[in-house]
Symmetry: C2
Amino acid sequence: MPTDDIRWIDDRGRDNDYNPPELNPRGIIMEAKCPHSATTVNCNDCRMSALCLPMALQADEIDRLNRIVERGRPLQRNEYIYHAGEPFKSIYAVRSGAVKGFTVNDEGVEQVTGFYLPGEIFGMDGIGHPNHINSAVALETAAICEIPFSRLEELSTQIPSLQRHFFRLMSREITNDQQLITMLSKNSAEERIATLLTSISARNARRKLSGSRFRLPMSRADIGNYMGLTVETVSRVFSRFQKQDILSVDKKEIEILDLDRLRSMANT
Amino acid sequence: MPTDDIRWIDDRGRDNDYNPPELNPRGIIMEAKCPHSATTVNCNDCRMSALCLPMALQADEIDRLNRIVERGRPLQRNEYIYHAGEPFKSIYAVRSGAVKGFTVNDEGVEQVTGFYLPGEIFGMDGIGHPNHINSAVALETAAICEIPFSRLEELSTQIPSLQRHFFRLMSREITNDQQLITMLSKNSAEERIATLLTSISARNARRKLSGSRFRLPMSRADIGNYMGLTVETVSRVFSRFQKQDILSVDKKEIEILDLDRLRSMANT
DNA sequence: CGGGCGGGTTGATATACGTCATATGGAAAG
DNA sequence: CTTTCCATATGACGTATATCAACCCGCCCG
């Protein structure tokens, strides 16, 4: 099975990475110290554009989109992008860093609903409701684009390809969730972890980063929460994978030693 | 907690039921023999309109929507509305009967992704893809409205409230799925079944049917599949609920004897 | 420097649910 | 009417994962 078939998460990631330090038209090095710097970026020279909303647009249309996008200061680890219960106003795109989306139920128990990496869109859960249903926090220092939803809606009525693309994004969120549902109701702990790792690997590869060596932005507890497992089980699976020479793990640093085997486990 | 908070499924159902036998303008009794009869129905006099797509529209707009809706002959039990892999062309609304949505993975294992009752929309999973990802079959004799998606998209650019409503529908599908995810990863077998039953109860009540006595349209196997349980476990939970005087079960006929207790179990 | 603390690992034990087997009853088929 | 078959039910048993507990390690903070 080709990598592309690991759809439930991979569809979010497609290509490229955040805008790395590079020369601007005047030859001055931008963002050399802070890769999360925001103010100098716009949709035209953001290298995420190929997988973010602009991918559906022509140059002049990107310009119009660009004008409604808001880019704040970089967020620190554990800073919220939005809280459940807040009025829903915008959707968001990750430019750099990583974000965790989650709900908290009546008893205060958290449920992680997704991890978002550079180039991915989040916050769509709020669209059907006056207030946000989920919360979102930065898992590490992150640069986020905010796209006011009412402006985007307006723009969508004027640019059919944007409307279509947006429908597609939402429907993919649905199929992603459904593949997670399948996993939770049918797959073992090992299969779930293998699926998560191959997914992150593929999303990294598409951003031209290593698909075999990377740093997990989330804790074991977050992984377990997301996959319906306890921390202990996650930890044990990681240990077992190491004993089997599938992985090499050093805290959050992961090296995938046998991607084929990992894929065949994930592949249920 | 009010019934309304059982969001993960209830949001689909809101009010009313299929069009029952009634007088047409000329005083002739319509559809007396077949409640699933299609040809005489249009969006204006369909009593599902209050929770279906027309709910967002003015009279003249409903007319325009009505003109793009296709209503075929009633479907029999086990007939497919669409198969996974078929080109995606339309979304669908249930006018009467019940529908099961499901995926089949590479090994041929089925995963139920949802049950759809009268007034509810399904088939949105296909939007982001050229072909349908899921399949959908009638669980019992059913009348279905087909809404060609390209026409709906077109109409949406002309009627902003329709676009907005459609965004809402999709986002609710997302939050529904996420609440199912939470249930699968955190709740016991009893809690899951209790949640399903209270959900169906609430959806029936909103259609002015009994919320305490109803017929389950799906098999125990489908329930188990949907909730991540085996048939045996589903059966045992039903038996246990009967011993505790929470339910009275006769094959698919359900009577809820203690809705409060059921709610408090569901309510995790 | 020492203590506390959060995150991670590992082991021993408990348990909810799955698996396998068998039974029943109604519906469809012949 | 008999046979077959499918859905449902119920019991015995096994097991994957949760739970509980102890421990380690790096980090922050006094």
